[in-house]
Symmetry: C2
């Protein structure tokens, strides 16, 4: 959770995530889109990788980065805990059986 929020606490890194939403990119392509040196972008990519938000695959000379949104569910779950339980009528009955007296 810590490395996750840390990775997200930077607008450059958040922009990178948004860019990768539209498809995988090489480190160089990503760096080109920012007014920042390649080593700096490389470092940002490293933090995103540590947080498991992106994955990288080397293909020859290039390294392709892609979103890894499996962690996303973890984040969403953390946020959802604050959503007050809205008393929404369930669409289906999950349990079949005799109704309780209070039901």
């Amino acid at each position: 959770m810590n490395s996750l929020f840390k990775a997200l606490n930077d607008s450059t890194r958040r922009e990178i995530l948004e860019m990768l939403k539209d498809g995988d990119m090489t480190a160089g392509d990503i760096a080109e889109r920012f007014d920042m040196t390649k080593p700096s972008i490389s470092h940002h990519l490293d933090l995103l990788k540590q947080a498991d938000l992106v994955a990288s695959v080397k293909k020859g000379q290039f390294i392709y980065y892609s979103l890894n949104m499996t962690v996303m569910d973890e984040i969403l779950a953390w946020f959802i805990q604050f959503k007050p339980a809205t008393a929404e009528k369930p669409r289906i009955r999950l349990q079949v059986g005799p109704r309780s007296i209070t039901e």
Copy 2:
């Protein structure tokens, strides 16, 4: 968005949010639960307030802090953008009218 992620990038502040989930608390009560001085906690509360994640109300000598989860939707929306659009069948027809040929 910046102040939001900044506020969330600290485990003490995240814990404070989780504590407030169970009900409002005074600054002092919050500080008691951490192994940290009151001024430090006061600073954390200030950052949470700047991010609009908490609100504070002064009652006499005490200042009560409470969750303000209206911003939460903003965060959730940011995360949802990464969720690939699942082709889920809509539960209800949103538009009433003549069906299109392709429908």
